[in-house]
Amino acid sequence: MPTTASTALPLKDVTASDSTLRRYLHGLPGVDAVGLEARAASLGTRSIKTTAKAYAIDLAISMVDLTTLEGADTAGKVRSLGAKAVRPDPTDRTAPATAAVCVYPDMVAVAKEAVAGSTVKVASVATAFPAGRAALAVKLADVRDAVAAGADEIDMVIDRGAFLAGNYLKVYEEIVAVKEACGASARLKVIFETGELSTYDNIRRASWLGMIAGADFIKTSTGKVAVNATPANTLLMLEAVRDFRAQTGIQVGVKPAGGIRTTKDAVKFLVLVNETAGEDWLDNHWFRFGASSLLNDLLMQRQKLATGRYSGPDYVTVD
C-alpha cells in the first residue's frame, strides 16, 4: 500500500532517473504546429448565440480567476477586487461569482477576508513568481507562507531554465516538493510560461511533466511575457489532460492565462474545451481563465443580452 506522496504519483517508474524521464517525455507524440493551429482556428468559427451564448458567458464568469499581480498592489486594491469577485455586477445579482481572486502571497490574508463567506477561492502566485529564479527553499517558504495565510490554490511557475536545459527531473522534483508544501488544503496550478518554452513539443512535454508530478491544474503562462495563452497552446494542453486521464484515471484542470480580454475570445476557449477535453471540463473546478480585464467585457455582453442594449464601460465597475 502506497504510503508516501511520491509512490502515489502516477507513472512513478518514469521518474526513476533523469534519463528515464527524458526518454518518456521525448517519446510522447510530436506536435505538428501547422495542423494544431489550423484546428484551433477552425474551432474558433463555431457559432455561439442566444441561449448558448448566455450559458457560455455565465460559465466563463464563473471560471475567471480575477487577478491583480502588480508591484503596486495595496490592501485596498485587493479588497475591492475581492468584492468584485463575489458580486461582479452590482446592478444584477444573478451574475455568478468568479472562481477565485489571484494575488501575491503577501495579499492572501487580505483577499481571504474580502471574499469570506462566499464561494470565491483565493489563489496565490507563490514560488518567486513570475521568474521563478530563486532557491527551492525560498520558493517553498513562499508557498508555505501563502498556504498558512489561507490560500486555497497555489499558482507555481516552473524553472524554465532547468526545463530548457533538459533537467526535467529537477523541474519534476520542484513540483513534487511544492505540491507537498501545498498540503491537503491547497490545489496546485503549475505554470509553464509557454511563451518561453517556445515549441509545441516542449509545451506537451511540460504538461505531462507537471501532471506526473501531481499538478491539479496546468496553466499556460504568467501574463508577464509577450506570448501568453493562445487557442493553440490551450488546445494542446487540453489534449494532454484528456490523454492523461485516459491513461491514469486522474483528471487535471487547465488554465489559460494572459491576453484573453474579450467575451468572443473566452467563448472560443470554451469551444476548445467542449470539443477537445469534453464537457467534464466545462466547470470551474476544471477550467479557469487567468484574467484581469476579461470580466468586464463578459459583464457588458451579459448586460447586452439581458437588455438588448450595449451600455458601455461606465456601467461596470473598474475593479
Binding site: 510530436g30 505538428d32 495542423g35 457559432s47 467542449n274 466545462l282
Partner: protein, 486 residues
Amino acid sequence: MASASVSAFTSAFEYAPAPESRSVVDIAPSYGLFIDGEFVEAADGRVFKTVSPSTEEVLSEVAQAGEADVERAVKAARKAFEKWSALPGSERAKYLFRIARIIQERSRELAVLETLDNGKPIKETRDADLPLVAAHFFYYAGWADKLGHAGFGANPRPLGVAGQVIPWNFPLLMLAWKIAPALATGNTVVLKPAETTPLSALFFADICRQAGLPKGVVNILPGYGDTGAALVAHPDVNKVAFTGSTAVGKAIARTVAGTRKKVTLELGGKGANIVFDDAPIDQAVEGIVTGIFFNQGQVCCAGSRLLVQESIQDELLDSLKRRLSTLRLGDPLDKNTDIGAINSAEQLSRITSLVEAGEAEGAERWSPACELPSAGYWFAPTLFTNVTQAHTIARDEIFGPVLSVLTFRTPDEAVAKANNTQYGLSAGIWTEKGSRILAVANKLRAGVVWSNTFNKFDPTSPFGGYKESGFGREGGRHGLEAYLDV
C-alpha cells in the same frame, strides 16, 4: 425547411444554428443552355430538374443539351477561337483577371448556391471552394502573357476547341480547373457540368457575360452522360478534358483513340493515408478526418484507406472515434456543419451497397451516434476496421464518408500496401521524421503525396494520377501543357 440542424452534441453547451441566408442567391425557375453568349433552349426542348440533396427540394429546371446543341456550341466555339486565339496574351489575361475579381465579389452568392445544389457544407464552399476558384483564374491569368516562358517553346499555340466534362463533387472548382488554363492558352471551351449540379456553371456563364467575354469563347451545356459522350465524340473538338469516374474515363479513352484529339483524364482514387508510429497523433487524426470526411468523402483524392502502424493502432483508433463523435452532421447551410448531404440518391445507394459488401466480407463497421435528417440524402461518417487488402472496401472507390482501416508493421509493408491498388491519385504520410517522409514519398506511386497534412490544394501545384487514376496534369505550369500544341 424539412431539415433541422442535427448534431451529435447533447451537452448543455449547444451551439446555436447559424444558417447562411438563402436570400443572397436568386435562383431562376428555369435555365437555358449557354451557347454563343446567349441562354437558349435545347433544340429538342428537353429539360431536367436539379434538386437540393439536403432537402430534395427542386431548385430549378434546366435545359438538357442534345446532339444538335453540341453541334451548335462547338460551331460557336470554333468561330470564336479565330479571334480569341489571335488576341495578345495580355488581353486574354484582362478577361481572366476580370472573371476572377467578379468571382470574388460574388463569392458569398456562389458559395450558398453551390451548397444548395451540391449538399456540401457552407464552410467548405465558402472557405475552400470559392477562394480556390478565384485563385485558379488569377493564377492562369498570370500565365496568359508568359506562355513563351513556360518551357514549351518560344511560341506555343492553342489547340482549338476544348470539350470539357466535369463532375458533381466540386462543380465550380472543377470548372475553374478546366476553363482557366484553357482560356489563358487561347482555346475556346464547351463545358458540360454534371446533371446533379448544373447551377454554378450557369451562374458562371452569367459571370462571363458580366466580364464582357467575347461570345462563343465559353459555352455551357448541361446534360447527362449522353451529352458528354456527344461532346467528346464531336469531330471538331481538339481537346478533351474529363474529371469523373474511371469507367467513363475508359469509355472516353476508347472514343478518342485513333483521333488527333489531345486528352487528359482525372479519374478515381483510393488514396492511402499512412500513419507511422512516430506521427503527431492529434494532428494525424485531424488529417484523417480531412482526408476522408471533407466533402462527405466525395473526393477523388480522398484518403479512403488508412494505413496505420500496428503499434499505435489502438491509440489512434480511440482518438479517431472520439473525434468522429464531435463531427456535426446536418443542414449544410449552417456554418457549424461539418458533414453535409450526399450528392444524389444514386450516389447514396452506391455507398450503401459498398458498405454492405464491407460488412458481408467481415470488416467491422462503426459510426458515431448520429441522427440523420428525415429528408434528403444522408450517410453517417463510417469507419471500417479489420480490413485487409482482399476486402472490396479496400479496393473499390466508395466516394462517400467511409474509411477503411488497414495496418502495417514496417515502412516497406506500408509502401507495398499503399501501391497495391489500381489507382494512384493521392497518398499521405504522417511522421515526425523528415527523412522518412522523403524516402516513403519517393516510393509511392501517386500523383500527389501530402506529408503531415491532407487534401490541400493550390493552383500552382500540378494534380493528376497514375494508373487508373488517369493521365495528364491540371494546375501549375504543367496544367498549361494539356492545352498547348507542344
